[in-house]
């Protein structure tokens, strides 16, 4: 603790304990506890308490209050817990009898204040913090604390209830790990006392007739097996396994969803996944007996495991695939293609009845699709999925949803009636469709897939969110199309592309900005993925899409303008920059596009389009295309002059990124070593090359922008500028000469960091720049700039800018000052919104 904080703390404690003062802001108390937590990690807590007697005084005086405010009492409980986390400090507080009065039976536990959830929460958190040594454990066990915590598991406040459950898990694990000397066996009665107490209560609850107590204990076990993987957990399990197993069939308890969680956590634990027999048999039985909705999360969790018996995995896969299989079978009787599951292993009655009910059909399918998406997104999937059949099933769902398929089978027609127009399912199915593109097989029914996607893209009933997902799925599959061309002729590809561009043209004119925006994003995605494909380029350029994109640069909605800028920027890769550009006429004039984008950068009233322009320019520059346009130097210079005065910080930041790319490229072009940021190794001489790059930077007016950005009111801008200047300096000054230079130069004479900060703060760098003879600094003078680079202590500035902008305000000292300052002020300000 700093000396200043040590001086402030007694007054803060006194203020907190003073009931006449208005209660402190809850965030202040919370942050104060954060600080005490940090302090207790950093230095011995006993010393902290002894050096600052005000802390124990605070606890004493809060305890002495006839009616402390709940928030202060809660704070005190948590503070005491943090302090008592170290054993000797715990003893110290015990001697003062403070802990008993706080956490014992005579404390808030039995007072009216216990009614307040924040007091109960403070109590639990306090106990949790101190539970790091055996004396604390014994203190609680002997004082009846365990009963309190067990009761709190059923607290009306979910926050308190779940904290209590976690606390019990921690105490049990801690007791066993700290107090056991030899490995345990089932029959052993010499488990630590505290652990015995907890386990006894768990067993009692499981055998009780109270549904809520059973559920609490199941939750506790779930938490336990999820967080603790010690061998004794198995011993514990053997004691309760029978009872837990019985809940699988017990309708009245309705603990099935919790059982699924419990079993999943156990399956993930190395203690259980290696066992043979009984545990996995229970999992299999759960997968069989739970309803598909309850078993789903367990099944997907099992399938993610890398260590799991094959038959369990197959059972889990059956649970997940059953609804998809039913869909396929309902759509075509007899099955036209292979189903997802072997008929002999499946018993589809339950799933069929769920699918034919209006209330469960969509939710079962949505859940299943969610799980499939989760599985398919894994890079290493420990199980083979029948991707082609899955794709057919997905396509069937999508057809059901838009009414394209009304099968003759009773189940099929029922499902199609239920699902028609179901947006929820459409969204889920399209998501899975998109991830499935990465696992395409050879027999992929590409043509019908695109037919279905096209109907979605075309239909006026498609909602904007569904449309966006349709675009995403389409672009993913389109990008894969060339890879699949062995099965697919160029002609067919072209046909698909043509159809898609016709739809895109329509969608770009949609009255809904969300649709226009998604369409433009789709276009950009396509260009990124397919710009090297001839068919794609030809089809795109022969469509109306490029012209419409240009029109959208003037869209009333700024998000759309920004997306149009990005799309138009990418279009130039095909229209202007492609080496064998298929453009014949002068339809796509490079200069026009550049001029248009520059105009947007300087005149658009909103930030998003301007940000998009600067990022496109940077992209061009990075890919080396600006040279094809005009003189890069002039281009950069012009752009940064516009960006410099932009009110949007991200445009300025984008401008700096452009400058950075330009610098790297210029230095490379002029023969610098591979890494332009590597410091000079040769002696510090003003070689021709060096001068040349310096002169280029000066001519392009980079330095004015960079130095002004150093004192930008938005910190990320200053930071970036500083990074670039540091890199430039290392290019122009070999590291050793810089040191000499700074030592011998006049920089120390009043031009150190303090000077710079003052200058920067005043925002008048130009008026007091060290190199200038007059009032104005010539940012285009190479010599002055070289001198400036060497003079300013950029490292220190860099360190300063790297700090958070509120590092002063969020320091402990500032926090203590704030708490003190609110003492005595009127409360009125608090009851307000932002």
């Amino acid at each position: 603790m700093t000396r200043e904080c040590g001086l402030l703390l007694p007054r803060v404690c006194a203020a907190l304990a003073d009931p006449r003062q208005p209660g402190s802001d809850d965030t202040c108390l919370e942050k104060l506890l954060d600080w005490f937590g940090d302090l207790s990690e950093a230095e011995p807590t006993l010393k902290l308490v002894q050096d600052n007697p005000c802390l124990t005084e605070l606890i004493t005086s809060v305890l002495a209050l006839p009616e402390p405010s709940p928030s202060i009492l809660s704070f005190t409980l948590r503070l005491a817990g943090i302090l008592a986390a170290s054993e000797n400090c715990f003893q110290h507080l015990q001697q003062e009898k403070l802990l008993v009065r706080l956490f014992g039976e005579d404390g808030p536990l039995n007072s009216a204040l216990w009614e307040d959830a924040s007091v109960r929460s403070g109590w639990v958190e306090g106990v949790r913090s101190m539970m790091r040594h055996q004396p604390a454990l014994h203190f609680l066990c002997s004082g009846g604390g365990i009963d309190v915590i067990f009761t709190l598991q059923g607290d009306p406040s979910l926050f308190v209830a779940s904290a209590a459950s976690r606390l019990l898990v921690h105490m049990l694990a801690f007791s066993l790990e700290s107090e056991m000397t030899k490995p345990l066996s089932v029959k052993d009665c010499d488990w630590p006392v505290c652990a015995q107490m907890i386990i006894k209560r768990i067993e009692d609850s499981l055998q009780s007739s109270s549904v809520s107590r059973i559920k609490q204990s199941l939750k506790l076990l779930t938490n336990l097996f999820g967080s603790c993987h010690a061998p004794w957990t198995e011993v514990l399990w053997l004691g309760v396994a029978k009872q837990v197993e019985s809940f699988l069939m017990e309708e009245s308890v309705q603990a099935q969803p919790m059982l699924a969680d419990l079993l999943l956590n156990m399956a993930r634990s190395p203690v259980f996944c290696d066992t043979e027999g009984s545990f996995w048999a229970l999992v299999t039985s759960a997968l069989e007996h739970l309803t598909p909705v309850q078993a789903g999360p367990l099944a997907v969790g099992i399938l993610r495991l890398h260590k799991c018996p094959q038959d369990v995995r197959i059972q889990a896969l059956t649970v997940l695939l059953q609804p998809m299989d039913c869909i396929l079978r309902a759509a075509s009787q007899p099955l036209e293609y292979a189903g997802l599951l072997d008929e002999s292993v499946t018993d589809p009655a339950t799933v069929e009845s769920l699918l034919s009910s209006k209330s469960s059909c969509a939710s079962l399918l949505c859940q299943t699709l969610g799980h499939l998406e989760e599985l398919l997104s894994l890079i290493h999937l420990p199980v083979d999925l029948p991707c082609t059949s899955l794709l057919r099933s997905l396509m069937t769902i999508l057809q059901f949803c838009n009414g394209l398929l009304i099968p003759a089978s009773p189940l099929g027609s029922k499902i199609s009636q239920i699902l028609i127009g179901c947006f929820r399912l459409q969204r889920s199915a399209l998501d899975v469709l998109a991830v499935l593109s990465e696992r395409k097989g050879c027999e992929t029914p590409v043509e019908s897939l695109f037919d279905i996607l096209l109907t979605y893209l075309e239909s006026p009933n498609t909602s904007p969110t569904v449309l966006k997902k349709s675009f995403q799925a389409t672009s993913k599959w389109l990008v894969c199309l060339p890879e699949m061309s062995c099965f697919y002729s160029q002609w067919q590809t072209k046909k698909i592309l043509q159809d898609i561009f016709v739809v895109l043209q329509k969608r770009l004119c949609s009255p809904s900005w969300e649709v226009r925006d998604s369409s433009l994003e789709f276009l950009t995605m396509l260009i990124k993925g397919l710009r090297d494909q001839d068919e794609f380029r030809q089809t795109l350029l022969s469509s109306e899409v490029p012209r419409l994109t240009e029109d959208l640069l003037e869209d009333p909605e700024s998000y759309v303008r920004a997306s149009a800028v990005t799309a138009a920027g990418h279009l130039t890769f095909i229209t202007c920059f492609a080496p064998q550009s298929p453009v014949i006429e002068n339809q796509y004039n490079k200069e026009n596009t550049v001029a248009k984008l520059q105009e947007i950068l300087s005149t658009d009233p909103e930030g998003f389009p301007r940000r998009a322009v600067i990022s496109i320019f940077t992209k061009w520059l990075r890919q080396g295309y600006t040279g094809l346009l005009q003189d890069t130097e002039q281009f950069v210079s012009r752009v940064i002059q516009i960006a410099e005065s932009d009110l949007d910080w991200e445009v300025r930041l984008g401008g700096l990124e452009l400058v950075e790319v330009f610098c790297v490229q210029t230095l490379c072009r002029l023969g610098r070593p591979k890494c332009p940021y590597a410091p000079f190794s040769s002696a510090f001489t003003s070689s021709v090359r060096q001068n040349e790059s310096l002169q280029i930077f000066c001519r392009a007016k980079l330095f004015g922008f960079l130095f002004c950005s150093l004192c930008d009111c938005d910190r990320p801008v200053g930071q970036r500028a500083c990074d670039i200047l540091l890199a430039l300096r290392s290019s122009f000054y070999p590291s050793n000469t810089l040191k000499d230079f700074q030592e011998t130069g006049d920089s120390s004479a009043g031009h150190g960091i303090a000077w710079l900060q003052r200058t920067l703060r005043q925002g008048s760098l130009a008026q007091s720049f060290p190199t200038g003879s007059g009032n104005e600094v010539d940012f285009q003078d190479p010599e002055s700039m070289l001198l400036a680079l060497g003079t300013i202590d950029l490292e220190e500035l860099h360190d300063d800018l790297n700090k958070s902008s509120d590092h002063v305000e969020k320091s402990p000292q500032s926090l203590l000052q704030d708490i003190l300052a609110t003492v005595g002020t009127v409360e009125e300000n608090e009851a307000d919104c932002y």
Partner: protein, 599 residues
């Protein structure tokens, strides 16, 4: 009906709104706010409390955002783009338009504060907004077949709405923040007499009866005017949209009236955008603004110009609106540093500031501020706090309850002590239950739903044939078979039910033994019973059958002697369920014994 709030901490603290309501099996999240007092995970609600197992998208039916303030919508992009909620989100049109501006504003502060880890990006804000379905006032939006929502005008800020959520005959109204008195640019909140099962009301100003806003406005203008007159500069830190526009109108009109010349600047280049939105959503403003709109648009400012960074150093008086609102960082803080040292200048804080900001420090009276590099900034300029926030006060809350006539009231977003007082008042005056749960606490409210049931035509015809015509005032009992299928209820005749469900009919007979003290022979006892019943049940056909049994409609009575005690006769009574009433009556009659006179 279940209510659960995910506010910060376990108390009733104000800070952010995020409420979960379960109504008739549908789960709706109301608001998705952020706590601006924290830079870490505590700023967002812990969504893992919503559902332990299963995905949020599957669990929640929709999310509703009441207005654009960050403590009501700030966590939305996090929720939809990072936590992974992918279902529908509803808000009004103005909220949808303005939300992203405030979110961008705050994202910038976060980046500045190095709190950007686990924070959303610009792209995420846009993607989130694209998922939003905008609703009109009083438009009934069908979320799915059962769940519908409807927005009502809430005042407070442009686009703020109260929402009615309805499933079948159960409904909840969530007020968000609202204001029952019109202000300079907005009208007062209004709602139908919709008699919801539950009204969830904010209670920020639960016990305060606020002084008139006019006074505060006059005070504000006076202070600005005085400062400008003595050549000082006025800094007003604001968030990009919202209160800023209200203050702009105030100053603009005042400048016009007083013919003042000192320049007024708005720093972020957002004036045009603000104008744009207020023009676009003119129907959401109050009557006065709408009426005068044709002659003069209140949001087209003559005196307020865009600010350039260099202007801060200009000599002479000026008024500058600069973002962000709590002097967190950025432009407002930079200008503050420049002007703080001059006692002629003034800073007016028009809103609440969280701890950890320079705004909070100066409002709590600190005048020597530590700046970067251990420098001390001495604040000599005047510091004023003026609350212009528009919440309903105690009177307003009571007024809304009177308008909506809810069955239950639940208070959120207020301090426990103040809420307790209001709770008592509400319970006394309206005789309804009033709840004020702490954050994290679940409140369950039982409703008495009246469930609509379709009645088959056949059954109805049969009932009317008996001569009982339906009458609204006289509810009557109707017999039939209730079929519950696919969330619909139908009452049909038993025969039709059997036919529809393909079931065979089973006859059910109730039997009962009645002991009678009678030493006579069995057939004599039977005769006595027959005569007795014949006398009492004159309207029914009572028959004495040759086999010695008696029937009354479908009821059959047989008598046997008790095996052990010949003086006791056992009457075996049985009847079908259709004659349940008569059967029970008859047994109770027989239990009383036989009259002596009949012998």
């Amino acid at each position: 009906l279940v209510f659960f709030s995910l506010g910060p901490g376990a108390g009733q603290d104000v800070g952010r709104s995020c409420i979960l309501v379960s109504i008739a099996g549908k789960n709706v999240m109301l608001d998705c706010g952020m706590h601006m007092g924290y830079n870490d995970d505590r700023r967002f609600p812990d969504f893992s409390y919503i559902t332990q197992n299963g995905r949020l998208t599957d669990f929640l039916d929709c999310v509703i955002i009441s207005h654009f303030h960050l403590d009501h919508c700030g966590a939305l992009p996090y929720f939809s783009e990072m936590v992974g909620y992918d279902g529908p989100i509803y808000m009004t049109h103005p909220t949808k338009a303005i939300c992203p501006i405030l979110l961008e504003d705050y994202r910038k502060i976060t980046v500045d504060k190095k709190g950007e880890t686990n924070f959303f990006t610009s792209q995420m804000i846009k993607d989130c907004m694209k998922k939003v379905v905008a609703v009109h006032l009083h438009q009934t939006v069908q979320v799915d077949e059962e769940l519908e929502i409807k927005a009502y005008y809430a005042g407070h800020v442009l686009g703020a709405a109260m929402f009615q959520i309805k499933v079948g005959c159960e409904s909840v109204v969530y007020t968000g923040d609202y204001n029952m008195t019109p202000d300079r640019h907005l009208g007062a909140a209004w709602i139908d007499k919709c008699r919801p099962d539950l009204l969830i009301s904010e209670s920020t100003y639960a016990t305060t009866i606020r002084d008139s806003k006019r006074c505060r406005e006059r005070d504000f203008l006076k202070k600005v005017h005085e400062t400008v007159e003595r050549g000082g500069k006025v800094l007003i830190p604001v968030f990009a949209l919202g209160r800023a526009q209200e203050l702009c109108i105030l100053l603009e009109t005042f400048w016009e009236r007083m013919n003042l010349k000192a320049p007024i600047y708005f720093s972020t280049g957002l004036t045009e955008k603000a104008n744009h939105y207020y023009k676009l959503f003119i129907t959401w403003t109050n009557q006065k603004i709408r009426k005068t709109f044709v002659q003069r648009n209140m949001f087209e400012f003559k005196h307020i110009k865009a600010f350039d960074r260099a202007f801060a150093d200009n000599p002479g008086p000026m008024v500058v609106f600069a973002t962000p609102g709590m002097l967190h960082a950025g432009q407002s803080l930079q200008i503050f540093r420049k002007w703080a040292g001059n006692e002629k200048n003034m800073v007016i804080m028009p809103g609440y500031c969280v701890q950890g900001t320079v705004g909070h420090k100066i409002l709590s009276g600190q005048r020597k501020l530590e700046m970067e590099g251990r420098q001390i900034l001495e604040v000599k300029m005047q510091v004023e706090y003026m609350s212009f926030s528009a919440h309903a006060d105690a009177k307003g809350i009571m007024q809304l309850i009177r308008q909506a006539e809810p069955q239950n009231v639940l208070l959120v977003h207020g301090e426990a002590k103040k809420m307790e007082f209001l709770k008592q008042k509400i319970e006394q005056e309206f005789h309804v239950n009033c709840y004020m749960p702490a954050n994290g606490e679940t409140t369950t409210i039982f409703t008495n739903p009246s469930i609509p049931v379709d009645i088959s035509l056949g059954l109805l015809k049969r009932e009317t044939a008996i001569g009982l015509l339906p009458d609204v005032k006289k509810p009557k009992l109707m017999h039939g078979t209730l079929i519950m299928k696919d969330n619909s209820f139908r009452l049909v005749s038993p025969e039709q039910a059997l036919k529809e469900l393909g079931l065979a009919e089973h006859q059910l007979r109730f039997t009962c033994r009645v002991h009678i003290q009678d030493p006579r022979k069995e057939h004599e006892t039977v005769l006595r019973v027959y005569n007795h019943l014949k006398a009492v049940l004159r309207d029914y056909s009572v028959q004495h059958l040759p086999d010695g049994s008696i029937t009354v409609e479908s009821i059959l009575i047989q008598a046997t002697a008790h095996s052990e005690d010949q003086g006791t006769k056992v009457l075996l009574v049985s009847w079908t369920y259709q004659d349940e009433e008569l059967g029970s009556y008859l047994t109770s009659l027989l239990k009383k014994g036989l009259p002596q006179s009949t012998s």
